[in-house]
Subunit: 510 residues, 2 copies
């Protein structure tokens, strides 16, 4: 607790439950306040930096993370229980993300510059000179996520996007990986220093419980919040942010069961193959992905039987890996027990029993569409390698199941050519409910790209108008300002006639 | 009330307080529900229309409004008390806005199409084909505003932007101009029919009180809200929208005092001219503009004395026009009485007394910066032709006054060349607090253009990330969707390789 009951926290090795040295001091509420004040003071300096300075800073963070070398990989793998190969890939993604945002900053399109030149002779009234650019919102609070200790955490997507936008950042490191968090925070701090930026550009606090995070979101100098975590946590932050004297935007990624629709021709052609590939996606990283395929929807058929049989066989041979934390493991156990105990639900398979702490094996359940439509609890996320097959009577029932879903990060459809006509109206249903619609693939890979959307209608996120992955994420932390008739020497440099860079003049690319 | 206590409402002539025939039936809660259901049913059809269909629809609304001819002008002028010339200009703006959005829809840049082509041979993992477009949010609830019976009302900016984005719309017409509202709703309805669109594309309800509007915002099929009105009204809608099982975005434009900074050299050179021009802006439309200059900030000087003297003289000669409604008149009377009764405030001038219902004359007050900084009430909006001059000791105090302001729609600075160096840091302060920063002009004209921002940090609006005027407003009602590896014949037409239109491919214009 931040009030002094606990003065320090330790990392816990996910595979053993053992405490790892060293201890890390828990931040106080005074630390939160100091970090926010420093972030606000640094904001005016940082937002005024030119594109090159800001891009070089993002690249320097990437270099500093690389310099941490194998010790970062080892620490993150130990704290998270995720395999070294996965963490190594995640580091590459994190570094690549920082470099991609550096390129975005240099490109300048994010400024959305628009110029409507003066028309002094227009009748009945002259038109003033109008120039628009995007400006950063202000200091941003970022919450590290447990399930991506690098890519969605201290130097993850929200931090990279906010820094790219010109916002200073205060990170609350996730207490499940304090060592990883401290190493990354150190790397960012060194980059701040190397680049000659004010220290407050990046602030950092840590601690268990909700008190610090609540204080951060409630702090009057914080202008926006980025969060990846549970539905309960996200809803609490949304409420806090709205109850402030000055409400602020919250980008919370919360809850998604990522429906996978299996169309009849695809099932008939390759039901068993789909079943095996599905289990590979379901069990990756112990199922601890926001995009984990937690729901399978299909018309009952021989092909679906083959899918289920192959999936069950694959799952039964799957050895569990330890989950991220004891809390996540307990929640998974509760969620799967509730499904197993539901009279309308059949358990199709369980994975291998693990040894020691890796006690939670993967699970595959089935129910029918009538039961699913009658019980909202069956549509709730169980974070981990658990999924539910919903067997439908006919295509109309598939449509009804999909139409009844809450907002989702992803929606997947497996189909063959013969399925296209029947799939078309379903895609229309899915795109109203999801941020990403994918065909003949699995939702668990989220490419960091210009065209990626990792977002979606509530409750997948608190704000379906944006993405937390990909270059469009920079928009989260920007707002437009119009400058009317400003003398040229008082205009922001990028808005002058002489400045290069992409712009619309009278609505057309110049 | 919608519960049947009052079955109909009448327009009131603002200049006389007299009831105008005919009566208009008040909508019931069942009407709200029916309009929302129809809007939802129409949404899937309407969002799938091509750009030409949607653009032609917007243009047809403009034609239908033109066809209403002088009877619209007369009715709007009578209900609002605004001069015929102003209403005529506002009609032109409303029609021009619809046509500008038609051009935006045809241009296609609003779709923000991004394509990251597949890289099947990439190592260690192939990249899927990713295609992003913006899609409409869903049915939008729009609240007509009292002070712009055309441009911010039934067929105003929010309606035009939402329809352009592909959203169906349910308007709650403002009860202060039910006749104008009915004429415009009829015009839109005819355009819907002419264009062969489902009737639910445009829904309309009317009634006094808050019950209907609350039901509209709480309706599960509504996906976003546009509102222009009081701070209390906007805050209530924000709360309602957040308390829904599925929270939705609210774009409420609420409260702004639009600071005007007078720099020393400008004041010295033309203090009296500035004073007269200021009063022209202040009293336009009885001061009933969201961008009305309600605060003047300057260092005490001979130039400021000249400004005040000229402003006081101009104001003293100003004859009032009737205000929009009795409620607005009463609120103005209370607000100005509070200022007049504040011991720290001096009344510099009052306008001429009006006759009859035009009883509320313009007011100009002054105070000093110490008093202003000590009393937050002095920074609250008084809707109408009232303004407060804050006399500062020095430039540092000007800065302190500006830095202490809440979020604003606009911030204005009057300056001469000799003021530029001192103005530069003030502009930096102002752009953190306002959606539009203007030099050597007055905030009351809001150009409908590509580079306009009519928005700003809370409480100017509920969401400073957008604008309610100008073409960027279409973004309010859009969210991104990514399509991954979709077969070409299942892609939305604008996302295919063959489609024309602006797009980024791997982040670069194609």
């Amino acid at each position: 607790m931040a009030n002094g009951q606990t003065a320090e926290i330790y990392g816990i090795a996910a595979a053993t439950g053992q405490r790892i040295d060293p201890a890390y001091p828990v931040s106080s509420l005074a630390d939160v306040d100091a970090a926010c004040r420093a972030a606000d003071a640094a904001f005016d300096v940082y937002r005024a930096t030119d594109a090159e300075t800001r891009a070089a800073f993002l690249e320097e963070i990437a270099v500093e993370i690389e310099r941490l070398g194998d010790s970062l990989i080892e620490r993150a793998a130990t704290e998270s229980g995720l395999p070294v190969a996965r963490i190594t890939g995640e580091r590459g993604r994190t570094i690549g993300q920082l470099r991609l945002f550096a390129a975005v900053v240099r490109d300048g399109r994010w400024r959305e510059i628009r110029i409507d030149p003066a028309m002094p002779d227009r009748q009945p009234l002259p038109r003033p000179d109008l120039r628009l650019r995007m400006v950063p919102l202000g200091p941003v609070a970022v919450f590290g996520a447990s399930n991506f200790p690098l890519a969605f955490s201290t130097a993850g997507g929200d931090t990279a996007a906010a820094l790219a936008a010109g916002c200073s950042v205060v990170v609350k490191g996730h207490p499940a990986h304090p060592g990883t968090d401290a190493m990354i925070a150190g790397a960012i701090g060194r980059a701040v220093s190397t680049c000659g930026l004010p220290a407050g550009v990046f602030g950092h606090v840590r601690g268990p419980g909700n008190e610090l995070g609540s204080a951060l979101v409630a702090h009057p100098l914080i202008a926006a919040v980025g969060f990846t975590g549970s539905r309960g946590g996200g809803l609490a932050l949304m409420r806090l942010a709205q109850e402030r004297p000055v409400p602020i935007p919250v980008y919370a990624e919360m809850s998604s069961i990522n429906p996978v629709v299996l169309m009849p021709a695809a099932l008939a052609a390759r039901g068993a193959d789909l079943g095996r590939a599905f289990v590979a996606s379901l069990t990756m990283g112990a199922g601890q992905f926001c995009t984990n395929p937690g729901l399978v929807v299909a018309v009952a058929s021989d092909g679906l039987d083959a899918f289920e049989a192959a999936a069950a066989a694959a799952l039964a041979a799957h050895a569990p890996q330890p989950m991220l934390t004891a809390g996540i493991r307990d929640a998974y156990a509760r969620g799967t027990a509730a499904l197993a105990g539901n009279a309308a639900v059949t358990q199709l398979a369980t994975g291998l029993a693990g040894d020691g702490i890796a006690s939670e094996n993967a699970r595959l359940f089935a129910t029918d569409a009538d039961a699913f439509l009658a019980d909202r609890a069956l549509g709730e996320e169980v974070f981990g390698a658990s999924s539910l097959v919903v067997r439908c009577r006919d295509a109309e029932q598939v449509r009804a199941v999909l139409a009844g879903l809450e907002g989702q990060l992803t929606a997947t459809i497996h189909l063959d050519q013969a399925d296209h006509d029947a799939a078309r109206p379903l895609i229309s249903v899915l795109e109203r409910r999801a941020g990403r619609v994918l065909a003949n693939g699995w939702p668990t890979g989220v490419e960091v790209a210009h065209a990626m959307v990792h977002g979606g209608p509530f409750p997948a996120t608190s704000d379906g108008r944006s993405t937390s992955v990909g270059t469009l994420a920079i928009d989260r932390f920007l707002r437009p300002v119009c400058y009317q008739d400003l003398p040229a020497d008082l205009l922001p440099p990028e808005l002058t006639d002489e400045a290069g860079g992409p712009r619309l003049v009278d609505g057309h690319p110049a």
